[in-house]
Symmetry: C2
Subunit: 191 residues, 2 copies
């Protein structure tokens, strides 16, 4: 057992779960988006998972059932919308490591898409959930891009946690919504 992390895995898990009241990262972001929508703050939605539908049954007196379909690779990020007149676009990532986020968890199409969004004047970023620390950070796209491009040139294949401490924006957990990520966006992109 490490002295640095005296909480056992099992206990830590419980703490994390309590903090989230059993809600996973995606549900937390969706809850924020619903709050923003209902309070007329922003219109941000998660995109549906792209699926290639092959076979659909139409049972009598029942709704259509898709009986054969396949997951497709998305061509964008998961979330987009409008906030204070600006186009906003982001991807949510979860890290289970202690010291670094592996870049293998970021897909080339996400990088390409966000590059374009920023070139066209939109706001693009990543929200990271560090499960181990139970902390949420926003990292500007350009920081992620720097590590990404470096990794293609035989550089390190991950983003160190220290980068989040130094240049990330910690999202303070609150009450309503629990994950008020637009507060960080306000400070970073609207000031």
């Amino acid at each position: 057992m490490s002295l640095n992390f005296p909480i056992k895995r099992k206990e830590r898990q419980t703490i994390v779960n309590k903090a989230n009241l059993g809600m996973d990262f995606e549900a937390l972001i969706n809850e924020s988006n619903t709050y923003y929508l209902n309070n007329d703050i922003a219109v941000i939605h998660k995109k549906p998972t792209p699926v290639q539908i092959v076979k659909v049954d139409y049972p009598q007196r029942a709704k259509a059932v898709i009986t054969e379909a396949y997951y497709k690779t998305p061509s964008t990020t998961d979330y987009n919308g409008i906030y204070k007149g600006k186009y906003i676009d982001f991807e949510a990532k979860e890290s289970h490591n202690k010291t670094a986020f592996p870049l293998a968890n970021i897909h080339p199409h996400q990088i390409e898409h966000l590059k374009r969004i920023i070139a066209h004047g939109g706001i693009g970023f990543f929200i990271f959930y560090w499960q181990y620390y139970n902390k949420y950070y926003i990292l500007d796209f350009n920081i992620v891009l720097k590590y990404w491009e470096n990794s293609l040139n035989d550089g390190r294949k991950s983003i160190p946690y220290q980068e989040f401490l130094d240049n990330g924006y910690l999202i303070q957990e609150g009450y309503l919504p629990r994950l008020n990520y637009l507060k960080v966006i306000d400070e970073k992109y609207f000031k």
Copy 2:
């Protein structure tokens, strides 16, 4: 046979198909969006159809197969993205009538979503394909909203074709892309 429409149904169909080279309305819009993307003009994507996935099989050495899923009601329109720094959002509708577009083909969530988008400073509209005339029109959201609200107050349940002739924006079919709808958006929203 009507004197106003001297072309028989069968012949008309052929003309329409030739004009489209067999491409349907959605494929035409997707083609435009691909063109805009590849030429760095705009980043606009169709959202995937929302599906509630219930059962997934993982056959050995083969990719996951979704074996039970259901269509879900979307909460937004089909298309959104960024153009010249502005958030853009629209829905595509096809009319098979001659004289009016039935409002029953527009869903309440589409109206609510576009209302919000415009309140937050985005550009929102409908693209209509009038199959009978083989013509494409953009109609500003506020015109559609006027008819929609009127229909809720026992007014007419459709938008007359005349409204498109008077206040719609005809999209001229071209070569690349065939349906250059952003040209109309330029004239209407960026001048």
